[in-house]
């Protein structure tokens, strides 16, 4: 109960903070929403020109991509800020202001870094998911499994954020590392069948980014396969690893000269 109260207070503060620059807040959300809508347009253009992903209709691919956007928006709201805040604190040697709070540093940073700007991304993803699903004859019976896989996919993205944030304790100023992980996450935006087998195994079980978009969309489309459910395990492990690594790396914090 105490933690819920703290989280809600921090979210309120995050909204006050975002609202301090109203134009920036509104523009930021509009830009995120537009770029989110523009990305699926590439898929529309591909299909409009006669090309396609084998065995996947345009609306089905759009569904994968909108679920991916929704998951990205959700993880960004929860943990993306931790990466940049940790990076700033380590570089400036001010992480002690986090450690002075009588809370788990990870919980505190999750709460204070609630990203209001990612609401646009999540909302855009949600709207596109509903539109795409209604054009594919998606099965409402698949919603419970969809939710399980959606949460698992979001856990993978949160785990990636935490791993990257943890790395900054050792390698200060590695601002390009997120690009590598973003590239890996891209695999989740497409039907897994288009990739070679080793890559499919990697994206399903090693860094399970296929669970971010492809697997939950498959559940809605009635195209679920048993191995997709097994992938929930590496997702949970991946998030647990991110949390463990971050907590472990805090002990390496050394500050800077005062």
């Amino acid at each position: 109960m105490r933690y819920i109260k703290i989280y809600l207070t921090c979210v309120r503060v995050a909204f006050s903070q975002a609202a301090a620059y109203r134009t920036d807040f509104i523009l930021g959300n509009i830009i995120t929403l537009l770029s989110n809508i523009l990305f699926p347009l590439v898929t529309v253009v591909i299909y409009a020109n006669g090309a396609e992903f084998p065995e996947w209709s345009m609306w089905e691919v759009l569904l994968i991509q909108s679920v991916f956007s929704m998951s990205t928006g959700m993880s960004a709201m929860l943990t993306q800020g931790i990466l940049w805040t940790t990076m700033d604190h380590i570089r400036e040697g001010s992480f002690e202001v986090v450690l002075l709070k009588p809370l788990s540093p990870l919980f505190y940073l999750t709460a204070v870094n609630f990203s209001t700007g990612s609401l646009g991304l999540f909302t855009g993803g949600l709207v596109l998911t509903i539109v795409s699903a209604s054009n594919t004859g998606a099965d409402a019976g698949g919603i419970p499994v969809f939710l399980l896989l959606f949460i698992s996919g979001t856990a993978v993205l949160c785990g990636l954020d935490l791993v990257m944030a943890a790395i900054t304790f050792k390698w200060v100023g590695n601002s390009r590392i997120p690009e590598i992980f973003d590239s890996i996450a891209e695999f989740g935006k497409y039907p897994l069948g288009i990739f070679p087998k080793p890559l499919r195994i990697f994206a399903a079980f090693v860094i399970p980014v296929a669970v971010v978009g492809f697997f939950p969309a498959s559940a809605l489309l009635g195209r679920l396969e048993w191995y997709m459910l097994v992938a929930v395990i590496p997702c949970a492990l991946f998030l647990a690893f991110g949390i463990w690594l971050y907590d472990r790396m805090i002990k390496r914090y050394e500050g800077v000269g005062g």
Partner: protein, 325 residues
């Protein structure tokens, strides 16, 4: 009074990298970096009594801030032990920090874009302060610092003095038993410094223990009961402020204003140590070797004096000598 902090053989070692200046050195260090081990804090032990104000002094890079950070639980010691309020700060961090407060003069705990009152509300939730306690404490602290209106303006528009006062409120809302202050008056004007010192004194009278690092010796002279001096990571002094004043022996400073320029190196056997110009000279008299009365009597023959004052050896001179010894 009982000890509230006990530190034994505390050591903090860092590994850092050294490189020379210039492009060639930068290129060389890209492939092979020279590791350097730094003993930021080197085997120091001390204890601090409950209800006192302890000043930790030392030149830049002496290890003061590292010591404070370890006392706050933000850094793990390399070796040695710390006991504060019965806790091992880094190991028991989450429980321990609930009972302490900290103000870092160069690191803000306030949220930059919103008014301090919103940051305070966040701390209220984090520390689980009841509505009644929060209101009482906030009224008390804003009254003491005279910042009733200031807390409703965005932090980014506040002056440094206003911001520091709000930093104090932020770190004291939960009524901590010990407050760590790392250079709390850095960059502040005289009025803001005095206000902060007044509040520290007031809270100390009410039982709060303060540990303070500073370069401003007035902070120490006005606030501290005890002083610890750290240099090159080692403790070089640990005693009362009164003892610090006499650590260099019983010495007095005599300032003379003269009617004619004086360019000599001594007056009646006492060396001239400083002077604004040739009409103002200062002398350091060791009263264990020569009484003040005797020396002043001897000055009667020195007919050029228009003014004379006798004072204790300035604190900055004492500290400088301890640093350089």
């Amino acid at each position: 009074m009982s000890d509230i902090i006990t530190v034994k053989n505390l050591t903090k070692t860092y590994t850092t990298y050294r490189r020379d200046s210039g492009f060639a050195a930068a290129l060389k260090s890209f492939f092979k970096r020279e590791k350097v081990t730094v003993n930021a804090v080197d085997d120091i032990s001390f204890s601090i009594e409950k209800g006192t104000v302890c000043g930790i002094l030392g030149p830049n890079g002496a290890g003061k801030s590292t010591t404070i950070k370890m006392l706050c639980g933000a850094l793990f010691p390399t070796s040695g032990s710390i006991d504060v309020l019965g806790f091992s700060p880094a190991r028991d961090r989450a429980k321990y920090v609930r009972r302490i407060g900290a103000v870092f003069g160069q690191k803000s705990q306030l949220i930059f874009d919103i008014p301090p009152i919103d940051s305070f509300a966040m701390n209220k939730a984090i520390y689980g302060i009841t509505d009644a306690d929060y209101k009482k404490r906030l009224d008390e602290m804003t009254g003491l610092f005279d910042v009733g209106d200031v807390i409703h303006k965005p932090t980014r528009v506040l002056s440094l003095g206003e911001r520091m006062k709000c930093e104090f409120i932020m770190s004291m809302l939960h009524s901590p038993e010990i407050v760590f202050l790392d250079e709390p008056t850095i960059g502040l004007d005289v009025i803001a410094k005095n206000k902060i010192r007044e509040v520290i004194s007031e809270m100390n009278r009410n039982g709060t223990t303060f540990i303070l690092t500073t370069h401003d010796l007035e902070d120490v002279e006005q606030l501290a009961d005890n002083v610890i001096i750290i240099n090159h990571g080692r403790k070089v002094f640990d005693d009362t402020l009164g003892s610090l004043r006499t650590t260099l022996g019983s010495k007095k400073m005599i300032d003379l204003t003269l009617s004619k320029p004086f360019a000599g190196s001594e007056i009646n056997g006492v060396p001239v140590i400083a002077g604004e110009d040739e009409l103002h000279v200062s002398l350091e008299v060791d009263t264990e070797q020569r009484s003040i009365t005797e020396f002043l009597t001897s000055l009667a023959n020195f007919s050029d004096i228009t003014d004379i004052s006798v004072r204790s050896l300035p604190m900055d001179m004492i500290i400088t000598r301890i640093y350089t010894e």
